[in-house]
Amino acid sequence: MNRDDDKKYFHLMVERLREISKRPIKLMEVCGTHTMAIGKSGIRTVLPVEIELVSGPGCPVCVTADSDIDAFMGLARDHRVTLVTYGDMMRVPGSAGSLAELKAEGADIRVAYSSLEALAFARSEPHKEIVFLGVGFETTAPATAHAVKSAVAEGLQNFSVYNLHKTVPLAIRALLAGDGVQIDGLILPGHVSVIIGEAPYAFIADEFGVSGAIAGFEPPEIMAAIVRLAGDINAGAPRISNIYPKAVKPEGNVVAQGLLDEVFAPGDAEWRGLGVIPGSGLDFREAFTSFDAAKRFAVERREVRLHRGCSCGEILKGMIKPSDCPLFGSLCTPERPIGPCMVSSEGTCAAYFLYNDDANIVERGRP
């Protein structure tokens, strides 16, 4: 499709949505990439008033628990290791500053785009302990698994992973089973689904009677997902649809799944806002535990609760909007973030702050 066809299709979808929207519907986009794409495309400004979009727990930085933030900060602070991280983590505030601040104070912290860069550091600087901060869902976890396997093959002794990887479906289950959460439909993450396929979402419709649509990230794709969900919800026929078939195969990426299964086993993980969800973490299997930086460096993980007043937890469950947080836009801004939701390029608060000040949109038809 060329751009003009895309636009026609988009407008068709908008019209269709207006026709079928009769009662209030609350949809959650699970994934932070969708949150940003929705913000940036301004889709909310053409939605019928009946349709409300809320953001979910699918921003890896945002769901990182305070205890984990403080734990890896501690590891970076005592200067025994070189910490390699995705850029988004640099400015997340811990109880004693951020990684960016630690770096300015002299800690060896480096930003990388992939785990393989961290591996390259380990290769070229054998006298240094390179620790990769493994953050992300099924999208980035296979790359971490691959890096670990490469390290085994090459006999690299100075490479390890501080492992915070998590899996999405169990978080969705915890969310739907939780109190006070009222969601009619889910826009499911395209990138995660590329890896895991359709099957892991079946319970959403079967057990909770909620519809889901696996969606791409372009405005017409997101709009198509919203229309599909609204139709399903009106019809009272919950189901999981894959409307991103050009990228997502029903069975997902079997090779990546095999890699994950070889290196990791399900473990408990703490999610901001959702608490500990059994089985939602990716622990190293026996054969790979020597790559676990938490063990190698005996990292202490203490219970902490940072940032009183920060409502990231409620926001990640779609219970409140960022603008409902008393700190939003006043004490908490992208320059001086209080919570991780304002830091990450996929964070809900950042997306609202940058693009979605609903009240600010120019009256239609007026210059």
Partner: protein
């Protein structure tokens, strides 16, 4: 052996005199024997514009220009932004030890070239040499004075509801060109920096008098930054249309790959003009008739009294154009 600048060239002695004579006087014209501590200018009566800017761009040479041409045009454009006709410029150089004479000659040469082409003289200047590692080859500070006609007052406070916003050509070329160069993207055949003097274009708008409310060259932070400043300074909302923004195909494609937005990329030869709705069409024609404004476009209007910038996207949706945040791109000019 290639001749390089040494610390002694900045000592103020014989070697400094030689440097000034062989490089700067040779390039800018004038007679060394007339040299004095200050240039003495005769200014027309009325208001005088006075501006200064420093240039640290890396790399120093890029498709479409170099740090010299950039330093000259940048200051000329700052004068043009307030509607002034540039009268004279000053140029000061901080040179790192080890910079080649050849590079310096090339940079001074391109200043001389635009100076002759525009008829705006470089009348005074200075050179300092710093030891290796204390600078990065060449930094230039240019200052300029210009005179403003009595009936011209370009300032964002003049902006009124319904005014049209015009951009004088394709956006993001300079920023994209420099970024692509640094990222090692091959842009030989495609986009060059738009570095150019715009005072002629602005002078062509003088006859429209107070219908021209404000003008500003959209350098660091790009069109997005200037529009946000205007929104704040005029206490007006501004609505622009994505589909009307003139963006070259290569820039659109390349920025998408790099995760950048053309609206925030630096320009070095593009003005934003706010003009009254009555004269918008005429002003646009006038700009397009000028060689520096062939691709000009009317991109939006000012509106209500909530100061912010809103973009109507190609999808017909609307979103805020936030003030660019964090480090945009270091050493882009």
């Amino acid at each position: 052996m290639t001749e390089t600048i040494r610390l002694a060239h900045g000592s103020g002695g014989e070697m400094t005199s030689r440097l000034i004579k062989e490089i700067f006087y040779a390039a800018f014209g004038g007679d060394v024997r007339d040299a004095n501590d200050s240039a003495v200018l005769e200014l027309p009566r009325g208001r005088t514009a006075f501006t200064t800017d420093s240039y640290v761009i890396s790399p120093m040479f890029f498709p479409g220009g170099d740090i010299g041409k950039l330093a000259f045009c940048g200051t000329v454009n700052d004068l043009a932004s307030v509607g002034a006709r540039p009268i004279a410029l000053a140029a000061s150089f901080i040179i790192e030890e080890g910079t080649t004479f050849e590079d310096l000659r090339r940079i001074a040469g391109s200043i001389g070239e635009v100076s002759r082409a525009t008829g705006i003289p470089v009348v005074t200047g200075d050179t300092k040499v710093v030891d290796k590692g204390s600078g990065d080859k060449v930094f230039i500070t240019t200052s300029g004075v210009g005179s403003i006609p009595d009936d011209i007052d370009y300032h964002p406070r003049n902006i009124r509801p319904g005014d049209a916003i015009i951009v004088t050509g394709s956006i993001g070329d300079h920023g994209y060109c420099i970024t692509a160069l640094r990222e090692g993207i091959d842009i030989k055949s495609a986009v060059t920096s738009d570095c150019a003097p715009l005072h002629g274009l602005v002078e062509a708008l003088w006859p429209f008098g107070a219908h021209i409310r404000a003008a500003r060259d959209a350098t660091r932070g790009g069109v997005g930054m200037v529009l946000n400043e205007w929104a704040m300074q005029s206490s007006r909302g501004i609505l622009i249309h994505e589909e009307r923004l003139p963006v070259k195909d290569e820039v659109a494609g390349g920025t998408a790959l790099l995760g950048l937005e053309p609206i925030y990329l630096a320009n070095e030869g593009k003005m934003l003009i706010a003009v009254s709705p009555e004269k918008a069409a005429e002003v646009l024609d006038c700009i397009r008739a000028h060689p520096a404004g062939a691709d000009a476009a009317l991109i939006g209007n000012t509106g209500d009294d909530k100061p912010r910038v809103v973009l109507e996207t190609a999808w017909g949706t609307q979103r805020l154009v936030p003030v660019p945040r964090g480090e945009i791109l270091p050493r882009i000019c």
